[in-house]
């Protein structure tokens, strides 16, 4: 075939393909990973964009710099500095969503055949990006307190790991949060076995239970941690705004890759996000999101307790937008999905979240940020019935 090897092993994201079918308004979807539109500050953004385009069109509609619109970049930099996620030797770029922060990092660092350790299960968009650079992927199980650091060390002993890709906080798809002890262990291992860590943190600000746990980036002393952030879950997903923090030498390469990918992120959306954050309080806005998602998470947990078959189990996230269910071994959740969709309920089958497309065949990812409490209750009831029929 004439295609590049890198794409021949990529299938389209099953989640995104499904997303199209879910246009049917009858379907209760736990499948996506979308924020609630009830939280979009649309009136404010309407006024803001109109003012930007009236007062400053020569900036908003013209080419900008690859690093990002300077006021937004400085705003995010000071937020990251305050959170301990931007050290003196680090730099920050605004990206076209969190996905691009991952992709540019992998593009800058991975050579064909390099070993990249990933969580099993993990985020399909991250996994596909790694695959597209022809890396050798090693999957490390996610335990109740996060990635299995012992299994990771076993891999590191036998194989030169280049990067570990991890979502330590409210992980996609499990909702699990890595313990502080494990985060410290990860940094130790990175030093000992000389690898980088890509800490993907799109959900970190959405904590509604328990104590905040320090990011690995905030404890990183020698620039081994690259940090990816996103506005998708705290402001708007469709605006495609994210950021990446990395040591200056790595960031230089990431900026060059950004130029090659799309020159720069649209200026208008960056200006609008900046204006929103400077006129209003992003923290207050996030607080509203946390409250809503807490209510919805609790609604889903109650429904699962009430309706879910007793031989099924599920995680109890302290934040974020996903939880992860384990069904009896005999159930193939890709098959289950077809039956569920007939009953107008959708979820993400576990195998979709695995680098081998096979493991976690009896698991499912459930999203609770998009459907409201009524739909959550109704959808979980239907899903429980579909499972019970198996």
């Amino acid at each position: 075939m004439f295609f590049a090897d890198r794409v021949s092993k990529l299938h389209g994201s099953a989640i995104r393909e499904m997303f199209k079918l879910l246009a049917d308004p009858q379907i209760i979807s736990f499948a996506g990973g979308a924020p609630s539109p009830a939280l979009f500050p649309s009136e404010q953004l309407a006024d803001i964009t109109a003012q930007i385009l009236k007062n400053n069109p020569a900036v908003a509609l013209q080419y900008g710099i690859s690093e990002g619109y300077t006021p937004l970049r400085e705003f995010v930099q000071s937020r990251m500095k305050a959170a301990g996620n931007l050290g003196d030797s680090d730099n920050l770029i605004i990206t076209s969503g969190g996905q691009q922060a991952l992709d540019l990092t992998f593009k800058s660092l991975i050579n064909e055949g390099d070993t990249v350790a990933v969580e099993s299960p993990s985020f399909i968009g991250g996994l596909n990006s790694i695959k597209s650079y022809n890396a050798k992927i090693k999957a490390v199980p996610v335990l109740d307190d996060g990635l299995d650091t012992e299994a990771l060390e076993e891999i590191a002993k036998n194989d030169k790991i280049k990067i570990v890709y991890t979502i330590p906080t409210f992980q996609n798809p499990t909702g699990i949060t890595m313990s502080l002890a494990k985060r410290k262990k990860m940094l130790e291992l990175a030093e000992k076995y000389d690898f980088f860590i890509l800490e993907d943190n799109p959900y970190g600000e959405l904590r509604y239970n328990g104590e905040e746990i320090a990011t690995m980036k905030s404890m990183d002393t020698d620039g081994r941690v690259i940090y990816a952030g996103s506005f998708s879950k705290i402001l708007s997903a469709g605006m495609r705004l994210g950021w990446c923090v990395a040591r200056k030498d790595i960031m230089e390469k990431i900026i060059i890759c950004k130029q090659v990918s799309d020159v720069h992120t649209p200026v208008l959306t960056q200006m609008a996000a900046y204006e929103f954050c400077s006129r209003y309080s992003l923290d207050e806005h996030i607080a509203k999101s946390r409250e809503l998602y807490k209510t919805r998470c609790n609604a889903m947990l109650s429904a699962l307790e009430r309706y879910f078959p007793k031989d099924c189990s599920f995680t109890r996230p302290d934040g974020g937008i996903f939880l992860w269910c384990t069904l009896p071994e005999r159930i193939d959740t890709q098959e289950l999905l077809k039956k569920a969709v007939q009953k107008k309920v959708a979820f993400v089958p576990g195998a979709t979240c695995e680098s081998d497309d096979k493991s976690s065949a009896n698991k499912i990812r459930l999203n609770y940020s998009l459907p409201d409490e009524g739909k959550i209750e109704k959808g979980i009831k239907i899903l429980s019935e579909v499972i019970a029929e198996q």
Copy 2:
């Protein structure tokens, strides 16, 4: 080093680095490739974005599909169909600017070591993308009537060419347009030697002299031509909107690469572009652009005739936004640039537009879309004096 090989050979785009220095409002810049902000329909877009965000925020601010916002995609599809650039076996994706259309095409098709033929000189963003996939680059001279097809055939005889990257109409950086005969010859060669052609056409609608020449895509019978289009020069550069047309099997891979790169192009900017095109006439808007750029091109040509040293020559574009000057062999234009910037005039040195970073050392690219007629006259006079001093 720990960087991926693909980025170790990329330097940041000299043009984009320069762009930052040009913030000095005193500088007359012929260096960029930006559209005139006088043409931005900012009042209309201000009303449009405010209405979109008030009436349809749940679409504008939410995740969209990787193929693009459907109404915009259909609008561009019908435009492309009318222009003969979208055949029955083709498909179209909305991209984050024309640059992403190039990058996703190369990502989908180029394996390490594949031979890619490019024009000498060519567009730095295209060249860097090709380099980032570790292709073997073969440079083919651009003659007065476009790429040297005989030189291309010589290369094809000795080497398996995978893709030819070309900007046949109002080429960047030369402003030269490929003749119809050569376009047909290119298609013959593509068939004979089994290669693809990436026809990059961001300037094609900006013709102000001479007769329209059929695109290669419109004469393509077996899906060998991939077509990249852009809104950057006809609506807004900062909105980062472009598109790519390719045979369905190739487009499938491009869509997957898009998912991995940035999931989708921002919905708000796509909706705004669509609303503008459906409420107003894009063709009328483009006609205004053509008129302005014709005036500015003529202003630059007159100034060059009046002031430029007699041992220098320059191209006379029939459209687009660039022309290309040849100075005496002894002049290194990278050095010349430093002197010109001291006198507050900037341009792009020729070597920047070459895949080997060396050829065209005595050439310069001049942009006339951004500076107004007064600045063009003044800047060319100063530049001519700087050259004469050499």
